[in-house]
């Protein structure tokens, strides 16, 4: 047995942990396989699910008894990946000598940099034309699509979370991964791993889940409205640049706590619109791709068995679902309202695109309309509320982060 412990410490570690954790560990290894497989098959978002699945598999397989960096006289179950529990500067420096992902985790997760880098990349691939070309319609649809972000907060309080945790969970309703990551890092560091993982898992199934909600709530005759009578106003690069600089400045002035998010997003947009090709390549191909890879992989590596057996995990899974369900319902209600106001010229499905998650919800709206009427081409109209959804989500996240700290 002594020899076995030295040669195969990972295998032996199953007997060194509580039974429920050992079972959770095996289940998680299979879940990791599932993430990679469904990511490969395009059922789940491959960009995130493949690295996350690999991380989940490997971190749960690679557990073994090792010296505790916080208290070296003790031993604990850990991996050679990273230690999220280190707090002091000394512990961070020591951890960086031991764990290969610790430098990335310490320098990009703890301060929210990874969320800002993803947001910068999103800004660099965001096409503002549809939004600025029709701002009233786009913003009008994005407001009701925040219903989940609004109602999940009191529901989370009712389920026993404190206000900071509830606010971080509520941001899942905004359907924007970097925003959830930023809010949970700022407000509920103890829950940021389960909140972020639940959020990204749900966001990756939005594309296959929302069509059921649409079919349940919108009759065929509304789904097939082709919107041929609507036009999109052309917008100049100068207008988009001016909008990005002015809006970024005003929002940073109003909510300094969330200024890093606004700055990152609008910097991305400005890089795109100023057409400096080398910066565009850097923001999209390098920053967005690299930060998405490490975001997925590190989140997967943080999803060890002890996180899953956390008693609050089941509540988070329910609340994540409730948040996105309510936002979807709110978006469709907004869609019905504009459909009625336009006397049936606007397809109500573009309302669900207000639930951010660029560009999945806009694509879902277009796909569902196209299934009923092949001539319905609503994607350009759906992209407006989709981008407006990013802005309303950033604003509501900023308000939550600012106001909840004053409670």
């Amino acid at each position: 047995m002594e020899q076995l412990i030295h040669v195969f410490p990972g295998l032996v570690s199953f007997s060194q942990m509580p039974t429920e954790m050992a079972i959770a560990r095996v289940i998680l290894i299979f879940i990791g396989f599932g993430m990679v497989y469904f990511g490969y098959k395009d059922v789940l978002e491959p960009l995130l699910m493949i690295p996350m699945g690999v991380g989940v598999c490997l971190v749960n397989a690679g557990l073994f008894m090792m010296p505790d960096l916080i208290d070296p006289s003790k031993q604990k179950l850990g991996t050679m990946f990273l230690d999220a529990m280190v707090q002091t500067s000394d512990q961070h420096i020591n951890a960086m000598q031991v764990y290969f992902l610790q430098p990335i985790y310490a320098l990009t997760f703890s301060n929210g940099l990874i969320a800002c880098m993803v947001f910068l990349g999103i800004g660099a691939i965001t096409e503002l034309d549809f939004f600025i070309g029709n701002p009233k319609l786009s913003l009008m649809l994005a407001i009701p699509a925040e219903l989940g972000t609004f109602l999940t907060f009191p529901i989370a309080i009712w389920m026993g979370f404190n206000p900071k945790e509830a606010a971080a969970i509520a941001t899942i309703g905004g359907a924007d991964g970097p925003m959830v990551l930023f809010a949970s890092l700022k407000l509920a560091k103890n829950l940021f791993v389960p909140i972020s993982v639940v959020s990204y898992l749900y966001l990756s199934i939005v594309y296959s889940g929302y069509p059921f909600l649409i079919k349940a709530l919108v009759p065929k005759r509304f789904r097939g409205i082709d919107m041929k009578e609507m036009t999109i106003t052309k917008v100049s690069a100068e207008e988009k640049l001016a909008f990005s600089i002015v809006t970024g400045t005003v929002l940073s002035l109003l909510f300094p706590v969330a200024a890093p998010l606004f700055v990152s997003f609008f910097l991305g947009v400005i890089i795109r619109e100023s057409k400096v090709s080398r910066y565009m390549f850097f923001a999209d191909d390098i920053i967005l791709t690299g930060s998405t890879l490490f975001l997925g992989f590190i989140l997967g590596c943080l999803l060890s068995a002890d996180v899953v057996v956390e008693p609050k995990m089941m509540k988070l899974i329910i609340l994540g679902f409730v948040a996105l369900f309510l936002s979807g319902v709110g978006g469709l209600l907004g869609g019905y309202a504009v459909c009625w106001l336009s006397k049936g010229k606007i397809n109500p499905l573009i309302g669900i695109a207000g639930v951010s998650c660029v560009p999945s919800t806009a694509k879902v709206a277009h796909k569902c309309a196209n299934e009923v009427n092949e001539e319905a081409f609503i994607l350009p109209f759906a992209m407006g509320p989709n981008i407006a959804g990013v802005i309303t989500t950033a604003v509501i996240t900023a308000i939550y982060v600012t106001k909840v700290q004053l409670l």
Binding site: F150, K234, E239, L251, V395, I399
Partner: protein
């Protein structure tokens, strides 16, 4: 914090978001007046 207080707080946040969103709309309209069209 009670559930009713939480609801009022979230409603307050939501209304503030709506107000800021309207401000963003105004900014787009004003910027549109001072920049050339595409």
């Amino acid at each position: 914090m009670g559930v009713w207080d939480a609801f009022k707080f979230a409603l307050n946040v939501y209304m503030l978001m709506t107000a800021i969103t309207i401000l963003v709309w105004f900014m787009i309209v004003i910027i549109g007046k001072f920049t050339k069209k595409g």
